[in-house]
């Protein structure tokens, strides 16, 4: 690694001030699993590294109708949090599927979002759940829907001098169920070949679908919603053919990249399979919750 100024501010305002001071030459680090690795490869050479480690107040998981997860909450915190497990179990399960326990101890939610890597798992489920990102700069605070947060490969809506402070996840509606699938054809510790998350909300009849949201990872330059597939589901009862149709429709939403986890063609085919499967599971969960609380 090259040398750099290492700063560890104690407050958000202090952190934002340093960012303002260094601008482009400063990099923010939380868990460091992505950034420090690239610094070791000498691919990233910041003049200043701003560690959020000691910044107070960004590490909380709070219930606010839904959930509010501070930027410094680690993947492991979210995975084992009784609050997350009870309110939005699919979210805890998603974090559980990320890399390894060791990395989950280090990697933070804010860091994962700001990194903007389309191969990450949590953004997929967060996207399906309709989460929003809370952002602060020295001047202002804003809230951006996750659908508008990811712009391109490793590029997000974050402006220079801005920081992710939290992610807010609305409570899943009544009669809804959600699921997350990570397709790992190679080894148990890998990025997904395709990751899929879905939340299905049923009509009062507990049979027909009122609304469904489907999100996908590792099949484009950003995590993305399969709106073309979602559109087919409203008002429909669950059925094999419907799941297949949704899977086929989802293929049109993706633009995968050939890499070590599969060719573009294979990932497109697997998108259909995973969307069908994840929808089926979410639907089942929705049906159970409808029966429990009609």
């Amino acid at each position: 690694m090259n040398d750099f100024d290492y700063r560890s501010p104690r407050s958000l305002d202090e952190a934002l001030a340093i960012l303002g001071e260094y601008g482009e030459d400063a990099r923010v680090v939380a868990g460091g699993t992505a950034l420090v690795t690239m610094m070791r490869q000498r691919l990233v050479q910041p003049r200043c590294l701003v560690s959020l480690r000691d910044v107070q107040g960004l590490g909380r998981i709070e219930a606010n109708g839904g959930l509010r997860l501070g930027a410094l909450v680690t993947h492991r915190d979210a995975e084992v949090s009784p609050l997350v497990q009870e309110r939005i179990p699919v979210l805890a399960e998603t974090f559980r599927r990320v890399a390894t326990v060791r990395i989950r101890h280090m990697a933070t939610i804010g860091g994962a979002l700001a990194h903007g890597d389309p191969n990450q798992d949590p953004p997929v489920t967060l996207l399906a759940l309709g989460a929003t990102v809370n952002i602060r700069s020295a001047r202002a605070a804003r809230e951006v829907p996750l659908t508008e947060f990811f712009r391109d490969y490793y590029e997000t809506a974050l402006e220079p001098g801005e920081l992710v402070t939290a992610v807010t996840v609305p409570a899943p509606p009544a009669r809804s169920g959600a699921a997350f699938l990570k397709f790992l054809p190679r080894t148990a510790d890998d990025y997904a070949t395709v990751a899929a998350a879905a939340i299905v909300t049923l009509e009062r009849d507990g049979v027909r679908c009122r609304e469904a949201r489907i999100a996908l990872g590792s099949v484009g330059v950003t995590p993305l919603r399969a709106t073309s597939a979602e559109a087919l589901l409203g008002g429909q009862p669950l059925g094999e053919s419907l799941l297949q149709a949704a899977g086929e429709a989802a293929k049109t939403a993706v633009d995968p990249l050939t890499d070590h986890r599969g060719s573009a063609a294979y990932k497109r085919e697997m998108t259909a399979v995973m969307v069908g499967r994840v929808l089926g599971q979410a639907w089942e969960a929705a049906r159970r919750s409808a029966q429990a609380r009609p």
């Binding site: 090259n2 490869q41 054809p185 190679r186 080894t187 148990a188 070590h260 697997m270």
Partner: protein, 727 residues
């Protein structure tokens, strides 16, 4: 024959140091004034070096030296064929070849200096595919390979490093007698040994000019010779200090960065440490050869193999330097005949130059490639003939008195017993539990390695026994095995035997670790040395009228007379014993037809072995080799594009994890016919080679899809299934 200590499942004595972090590996060695060496590597697969400007690097604070080929004697290095420069001289031949080296006060400064070296290249046309490389008019990597020291004579094309040939009977006549002839071509991937300790070395030059070396190298005495050759220094000026090695699997026998570390130490006057990053291991280590293997087999109507012709192309990369065998080829090629008696046989293996990473030895060199091809081929033939693959094998298995392709004569052949044991344990003949589930078998055998080892045993006045040996610990548990042998012979407890790891000053020579030889050569050396000491002890005891069991007393009595009770033995196994060890494996797999994903539901491995000296270590060798075989079969692949390896970290080049291991049944068939101490045989390389074909055959059984190229990925199975449905 019952033993007290041999055969006992005792834990590893090296264990204490290893589990407590006290064991010192080469990379852990530190010395006063130590500085760090790092190498700049070529970004191009084939180019002329026009100019190198190191001035900016030299100017960087903390940099002590920058060397290019111009600063070094024009000497080529290697293990058997000497064709590789220490630093590229006016020409680079693969991406990752070293062009300059830096010494600096810390590794980060050294890395920073590398970025400041400007190299101007002029592209040369390159060739990457082994088939293309030996066509007329292909770009030639080395103008005159024949001139290289150690170069084999036969060279049908300038890009051929070596040809290895095995012949029995008259193959063309054999095909003439065949009722059916089958030909299939198979491909295997570029694969790294996967040891988790990247190459590490420290070189220091003493005030008296002696060269001290600490290196992750499994053949210390050969290393001394090779360094002496590379540095043009007399061997007695070099001392190799043994350290534990963080995984070898065939990959830790070369000089790697040591000559550069020496030259940096020479010019800086400081001890120099060079550690490769794992990315460097993956772009410039010495991985397993990828292969293209064509098998042509003639059989009679009733399924007897009458003739086989095997042609193998091994893509050896830019240099032959990493291959240690006199043939400069891969001995595993002989496995083209499999475990079968084939009266008319011709096997030809070509190691080919190309602008890729130079390849070397990996656990059972050449065998996983050949056995994948041969055992897949056997199943394909059986299905064509409408025979059960087990029956086709039964008809053709080796028997007592047969000769292998390499002329090796066999007795005590248990091929058939081993196969039947595996079939029985795996319930091969029973109905399968459901659709999309298949079973497949594969067999191989592995000889017991030969070589030479020196051992010394000494009775201490405390009554303890010290075994001194210069075989490095590569993790196989060999040191424990040797202590067990000594304790057994001398009638002492294992705690009373201490191992003393010697260095290259302490003994004349030793062939080091490799080829599944250590239990045999080291074990026999230790055995005979202990026998000699036992006699000394007995005569000493009777001389002083001390009971032969009172070792401390005897040793002290001898000491009074100014004598130490000590015995040495040099054991040299020149010829292979007329036994081998057979392996039969059965995989049961499930296919997910929607994704092509292959799940190993169960794996059975059966081994024909000799006396087991340490059951824990023995089983550990079986399990470790088997999971390496699983990685080779299903996931490991160093992907290259135009000679550039794109899987440059263990995040992209994936090794099996603890969650990837299948339920395992091991069947052991024991015999007491091995050449090792107490009739031990070898186990280190027995379990790796048959795994991939067993799985490929199971996949074919489960879904009718035949994968001819490794690894067997879900994607390959998925698209093959789709094609099959389309047809």
């Amino acid at each position: 024959m019952a033993h007290r200590i041999v055969g006992q499942p005792v834990g590893k004595l090296e264990g204490i140091g290893k589990v407590s972090g006290q064991a010192r590996y080469s990379g852990d060695v530190t010395l006063p004034g130590l500085v760090w060496g790092k190498a700049l590597r070529s970004p191009l697969p084939h180019a002329r070096i026009v100019r190198i400007d190191t001035s900016r690097a030299r100017a960087l604070p903390g940099v002590l030296a920058v060397l290019t080929a111009q600063d070094l004697p024009d000497i080529l290095v290697g293990r058997r064929m000497f064709d590789m420069p220490m630093l590229a001289r006016d020409r680079v031949r693969f991406v990752g070849e070293k062009v300059a080296v830096v010494a600096a006060v810390d590794p980060d400064t050294a890395e920073e200096a590398l970025a400041l070296i400007d190299v101007e290249y002029e592209d040369l046309s390159a060739v990457f595919d082994p088939v293309a490389a030996i066509k007329a008019g292909a770009p030639v990597l080395h103008e005159n390979p024949a001139a290289y020291e150690g170069a084999p004579a036969e060279r049908p094309h300038p890009n051929v490093q070596s040809v290895l040939r095995f012949k029995l009977g008259d193959v063309e006549a054999g095909f003439g007698q065949a009722d059916r002839i089958f030909e299939h071509t198979f491909r295997t991937q570029l694969d790294h040994q996967g040891y988790l300790e990247p190459h590490a070395g420290v070189v220091a030059i003493d005030d008296d000019g002696r060269i001290q070396v600490w290196a992750s190298n499994k053949m210390p005495f050969r290393l001394k010779e090779l360094l002496s050759h590379a540095l043009r220094r007399p061997p007695e000026q070099i001392r190799v200090n043994l350290t534990p090695i963080g995984g070898d699997f065939g990959g830790k026998g070369s000089l790697m960065d040591l000559p550069l570390a020496y030259h940096l130490a020479r010019v800086t006057g400081r001890p120099v440490k060079m550690l490769m990053r794992y990315a460097e291991e993956l772009m410039a280590g010495n991985p397993r050869h990828p292969s293209v293997i064509t098998m042509r087999t003639g059989v009679t109507r009733d399924g007897r193999i009458i003739a086989r012709r095997v042609k193998a192309l091994f893509n050896s990369g830019a240099y032959a330097a990493f291959k240690p065998a006199p043939s400069v080829n891969l001995g595993g090629t002989a496995m083209g005949a499999g475990v079968y008696r084939i009266p008319n046989l011709l096997i030809e293996a070509f190691c080919v130059y190309s602008n890729n990473i130079p390849c070397g030895h990996a656990r059972s060199p050449g065998e996983p490639q050949m056995v994948f091809a041969g055992e897949s081929h056997m199943d394909m033939i059986a299905r064509e003939l409408g025979m059960d693959p087990a029956d086709l094998r039964r008809k053709n298995l080796l028997r007592d008195g047969d000769h292998l392709a390499n002329g090796h004569h066999l007795e005590h052949v248990r091929a058939s017993d081993t196969l039947e044991a595996a079939l029985k344990a795996s319930h091969y003949a029973e109905p399968k539990p459901g659709p999309w589930i298949g079973r497949g078998m594969a067999m191989t055998h592995r000889h017991i390695g030969v070589g030479f080892t020196n051992a010394r045993v000494r009775l201490e006045t405390s009554g303890a026994v010290t075994l001194s040996i210069a075989l490095p610990d590569t993790g196989t548990g060999a040191h424990l095995v040797l202590c067990q042998v000594v304790a057994e012979v001398l009638g002492v407890t294992l705690d009373e035997v201490e191992i003393e790891v010697a260095n290259t000053d302490d003994f004349e020579t030793d062939s080091g670790v490799g080829g599944s030889r250590v239990t045999h050569t080291g074990g026999r050396a230790a055995y005979h040395a202990a026998e000699k000491l036992k006699q000394q002890i007995e005569s000493e005891a009777s001389k002083h009228g001390i009971p032969a069991g009172a070792l401390a007393e005897i040793a002290r009595a001898a000491a009074k007379d100014g004598r130490t009770l000590e015995a040495s033995h040099f054991y040299d196994a020149k010829a292979h014993a007329d036994v081998t060890s057979f392996t039969a494996q059965v995989a049961e797999v499930a296919i997910d037809p929607a994704t092509g994903q292959v799940t190993i539901r169960h794996f059975t491995t059966a081994h024909d072995v000799g006396t087991i000296i340490n059951p824990i270590g023995h089983q550990g060798q079986i399990e470790g080799g088997l999971i390496q075989g699983l990685g080779f079969a299903l996931m490991e692949e160093m992907k290259t594009e135009d000679g550039r390896i794109s899987t440059l970290s263990l995040g992209d080049f994936k090794l099996p994890t603890i969650q990837d291991i299948p339920p395992l049944t091991t069947v052991i068939l024991q015999d007491q016919v091995g050449p090792g101490p107490f009739n031990a045989k070898a186990i280190g390389e027995g379990s790796i080679s048959a795994v991939a074909p067993a799985i490929a055959n199971a996949v074919a059984d489960a879904c009718g899809v035949r994968i001819l190229d490794l690894p067997i990925t879900a994607e390959k199975v998925y698209f093959a299934l789709r094609e099959k449905v389309a047809r």
